[in-house]
Amino acid sequence: MNKRLRDSSDLANPQQPQNMVPDSATPDKSAPESKSDSRTPSKVSREAPCTHCDLPTPYVGENPPHPLFCCNGCRGAYELIQGWGLDSYYDLRDQANGERNRMPEATDKGRFDSFDDPEFLGLSTPKQQSDGLQSAQLAVHGLHCAACAWLIENAAQQTEGWNTARVHLGDHTLRVMFDPATCSLSGIARLLHRLGYELAPITKQPDAHFRKENRRLLTQIAIAGFCAANAMWIAVALYAGDASGVAAEHRLLLRLMGTGLGLIAVAVPGRTFFRGAFAALRTWTPHMDLPVALGLSVGTVTGTVNAISGRGDVYFDSLAVLVFFLLVGRWIQFHQQHRAAKAVDLLLRITPAHANRIAADNTTDWVLVDTLRPDDQIRVAAGESLPADGIIAAGNTTLDRSLLTGESQPVAAQTGDEVSAGTLNLSRSIDVTVRAVGSESRIGRVMQSVESAMAERTPIVQLADAIGGWFVVIVTLLAIAALVIWSGEGWGLAAGHATALLIVACPCALALATPLAIAVSLGRAAKRKILIRDGASLQLLASKGILWFDKTGTLTEGRSRAQVLYGPETALSDAAAVERDCSHPIASAIERECLLQGLTPPDDAELLVVETGGVQGVCEGRQIVVGNIPFLTSKGIVCSAEILAAVDASLQIAATPIVIAVDGVATTVLGLSDPLRQQAAETVATLQRRGWQVGILSGDHPAIVAAVAQQIGIPLELAHGGLLPADKLERVRQPQSMITVMIGDGANDAAALAAADVGIAVRGGAEVSLQAAPIFIASGRLTSIVELIRGSSATSKLIRTTFAVSLSYNLFAVGFALAGWISPLLAAVLMPLSSISVLSLTLAWPTFRSP
């Protein structure tokens, strides 16, 4: 484009270099570089660059004029930028270029540039969002605890164009959202590299970087273990020598050997802590590695000085053991976090990990689900879960789709039907053509939204984050205080006490407590078919408040049932025969009841009259009238006192009465009602016992709502009927001091579910429900609500307990260390113990366990 803009006006420009080749002599197509190459091949280095675009210009000389342009286009751009007063652009650009040139290795630049290449990124390729931003998920190496996540998420806030970062500690991934216009993925990778973290694209096997980190930690543990074990026996020999006498030369040998081993331990596996501490210092962010690194350095310096001078203790046995224990603690934590993430990696729990793939020659082969591709054929035997989304290629069966839809009835599925991963094949073996696997499948997408709950910052997590930051600062200050207090007793002792304090006070357990508890609880809940989208709901449900139930479809089955209250059941089959062609709910209720009673309605019925209130027809020569009392009266049918009494009884139990008359005589009374769900009364009673207020918000007739409320023990003043969806929303929104929970259908109560403090959807599809409400009960059982409430308060209790345990551990530990009661060795043993105690508490705590 620059070349095309080049025209005769260039020549008229006084600032144009004198020896610039006139355009008429240069063909339009030739690039500036080729021009210069052909004319002055030996003077390339002396060519002056264009002020705007930095490309070489034809000008060759000692003092290039400023500004200098390679073409008219650049001049135009330069003048535009100057005109806007944005000339600092050029300074900024030069700075940015300088920054790039200062990168340590030239190859590094190329390495990060590949972060803009979709080929290299694979699954991590950024996805365009509707708001113009791009989002990508990447693996992060070098995460230790919540402080790292905090640092990265803060870095995102301070970087222009990088909107959000969500660190997923559980599986060591990072989700970034950035503006492709001002920020690139390579830039983010470069920035994080400077902070001490390594980004990598996620791979097909999300375990690949887990494996790498695991191997790295184990290798370090092996080296630290070797050093620690040998340093220990050398130390024992020295102590024994002190007691029973040892030759001075041997003593020196042992001390030097021990020092050497200790130095290896600090330098090789211990450098992890120094790297973390340096990153913390560079960004001025408190980090748990800081006190540890400080302790290690104080110990190393004192130990080396003592070893060389030949006086005092060498601390290297303690330091090697410390590095060893710290690494073991870190490995255990890493492993447990990964396991917790696996528990939430629900796909693994709900869909099978293996599939029976059919090869071209019709043999079958068990393969990992990850290796399945669209259009593969798999065979799913009866009783197995489907491993992937697909279309049935052969066979008929029935499926239990309750996980996705909440419907408890098995659904028939034939060849050509779509099926989803996670549904259970009930009756016969089927062949399925794979369409989507893993996170691409329907259940995979649902699980992703549940998983994102792990990264959610609940208020108590924020508290832990804030405390963690202060903690590091306070501990460092206290360590200096310890150094000062004990300095009177000698430098060695003071250094030992300060080292012990720094080590023993690591806030690791504090940072670990809450995220781990929430992750474990969500995972366990999901296994019990309770899908929770955000961890904050768990905390809200742990307090007490008011629970609003929707009636139809939530407390009741949502389908009316016609029960014979008076008279012969045979009239039922006549009524069903007459009403066969009606699509009215009453007609289908009567038909269903016929099926339930095992009656077969005759075929030759004829429907004659359909009016408001009832129908009239002929069945096997009998005149049949089905309807309410006014309709029967209008047809000239007189009801006996028994019939009228039965009608009254029906109204008493909140059932709509329907009368059937055969040949002009009313014979049977049906009560039409929506039966309560099983365990509705039990659930309500349990919830009330736990201190919750329970109410009904229903669109149904107030009288029916009142009757239902009476049946299941809900006080009448809390049973509201005749409400429109907007009225429900109004009631849920009413400012209340207590937590408001709405329990309803996923589909028709969406607004109220979303407006409540916590919405719980009990029916409908998982995708839709989880959009409206943070919790979806996929089991379809009302008792799951009790389980949920119970689990929430258990989780909340767990968080408080682990928090208290780790906080009091730290308080006591720091106190004892300050008093000089803890040696560095003991500190090394105590520190991982606090993390392990938090871990074992969390794993043993009965959240979402079967009662």
Binding site: R215, L253, L261, N356
Partner: protein, 57 residues
């Protein structure tokens, strides 16, 4: 006591050899997955039987 000058390096050397062996095991992936081997026995080995049968044919 001069045996110490020989015994100590030998002890360290043996320990280092053990460490190197351990690191080799870690690098080769022996410790990558501590959970699955325990569960692996529960996975049906029907496929291998089927494979054998097809091979026999």
């Amino acid at each position: 006591m001069s045996v110490l000058y020989i015994a100590l390096p030998i002890a360290i050397f043996l320990g280092a050899a053990g460490m190197v062996a351990c690191i080799r095991c870690i690098r080769s992936g022996q410790y990558d997955d501590m959970d699955t081997p325990a569960v692996r026995m529960l996975i049906d080995d029907k496929p291998s039987v089927e494979k054998k049968q097809t091979k026999d044919k």
